[in-house]
């Protein structure tokens, strides 16, 4: 039973959202990509907010009216997991099916063909890997025991994520071993091949030239 004050506080926080977050600048039609190397079955949440540069005021507008962001998520073998157009502010989620590098790209849908001098966008971005947002549930907790349960669930989630990363790390080390063994085998066999080419070609040269000189009556 949340009191009116708590509800107001919660709503106030929604409005405050990303203004204290970390941000960077991009050109209007520039695509910015982020690489996330994650194990399989990992949940990723990304929150972003875009602001547009106002040339007259020489400052960033509070929001970017009419501007949307294309969010594209591809795996390392170019399989597209998510490709959607969001508004100037939004949240995207996805779960990885296979372990590896996932590339998250953000691009605005600005229709300006030429980027005017000084025209840029400010993107606030927050990406969370492997954590569900349990604090909403914690805020609603009816009593302390429930809250303890939720917080323990958070810890358990953290542990599970660590275990997943460990398994992933083991797979990667196996990959690394295979690549190194491949290189080793390549070096060995190609060295053999080159030595045998040397010997065979040498014999061919000698025989051919000998026959040639005998035919020419020089020997």
């Amino acid at each position: 039973m949340a009191t009116a004050v708590e509800i107001l506080a919660l709503l106030f926080c929604f409005g405050f959202s990303l203004s204290a977050a970390f941000y960077f600048h991009v050109g209007e039609r520039e695509e910015k990509c982020i690489i996330e190397d994650i194990p399989s079955d990992t949940w990723i949440t990304g929150t972003f907010k875009v602001q547009k540069w106002d040339r007259d005021r020489h400052d960033f507008l509070e929001s970017a009216p009419g501007l949307g962001m294309f969010v594209t998520i591809t795996t390392y073998n170019d399989e597209v997991l998510l490709s959607k157009l969001y508004g100037a502010q939004g949240t995207f989620y996805f779960t990885s099916h296979s372990p590896g590098e996932h590339i998250i790209c953000l691009e605005s849908n600005s229709t300006q063909l030429v980027s005017f001098g000084g025209s840029k966008l400010r993107i606030h971005l927050d990406i969370r890997v492997g954590e569900h947002d349990l604090d909403a549930a914690i805020a609603q907790a009816k009593d302390k025991v429930n809250e303890v349960t939720f917080k323990l669930e958070h810890l358990i989630e953290q542990i599970e994520q660590i275990l997943k990363e460990q398994d992933y790390q083991r797979d990667r080390e196996e990959n690394f071993r295979m690549t190194s063994e491949d290189t080793n085998r390549n070096v060995l066999w190609w060295a053999f091949a080159q030595i045998s080419i040397f010997i065979l070609v040498g014999i061919f040269q000698m025989k051919h030239l000998k026959d040639f000189f005998i035919a020419k009556k020089l020997v």
Partner: protein, 207 residues
């Protein structure tokens, strides 16, 4: 919805640590700036590492809102810098790859702002034991995750070098074998061509 937005609703203004950690590609001759609004008195830590590309080095600079340079390193492979924000405002940090002409680099950084509040606020008296366990377990798990990230980055570096080596060995071996073959057979025919014109003169000398 960011985690701290909802949490703050119940216990007042309790902002947990922001930890943006990003792996991105820095093209050659480019620099990438990031900005962060920090309140004074917050303990912050910037850590970065170059994963692939060239000599695995990058320039890094961290400035406070007045433009004073707090940290500056040229051509570093990885580093960790902690500081406490003394002024209120936007702190900027920048990674430059301008010295590199054609290698673009993949790099990782994480910028921790503020300390995490304890999972249990002090007025919670469910159990003192639970409080200690949750706080220290949470901190321990966080440092485990941190170490795992370091291992993952180093492994990515090793993997990229191993793959590079493998491709290079394969291509150069094939190329070398091919060149060997072509040159040896070419030698024979070249040598033969030296003797083909002099056939008439040789026979005259012989007789």
């Amino acid at each position: 919805m960011p985690r701290w937005a909802a949490a703050a609703g119940r216990w007042g203004w309790r902002l947990p640590a922001l930890l943006p950690e990003i792996t991105f590609e820095l093209p050659d001759n480019a620099k990438q700036r990031f900005y962060e609004d920090i309140a004074p008195g917050t303990a912050c830590a910037l850590e970065f590492q170059v994963i692939t590309g060239g000599h695995y080095d990058v320039d890094c600079r961290l400035e406070d809102p007045d433009g004073k340079v707090l940290y500056k390193e040229m051509k570093t492979r990885y580093d960790n810098f902690t500081f406490t924000a003394s002024k209120n405002g936007t702190y900027r940090f920048c990674f430059c790859n301008e010295f590199s002409t054609f290698t673009h680099k993949t790099m990782y950084f994480d910028f921790q702002v503020g300390e995490d509040p304890p999972l249990f606020p002090s007025e919670n008296r469910v159990s003192a034991l639970t409080q200690v366990e949750s706080v220290s377990i949470h901190e321990a798990l966080k440092s485990v995750t941190d170490y795992q990230t370091h291992v993952r980055l180093r492994e990515a570096q090793g993997q990229s070098r191993a793959e590079d080596l493998n491709t290079r060995v394969a291509y150069w071996s094939v190329g070398e074998a091919f060149v060997l073959l072509v040159v040896s057979i070419g030698q024979v025919f070249l040598l033969k061509s030296f003797f083909s014109d002099k056939r008439t003169t040789t026979s005259r000398v012989g007789s």
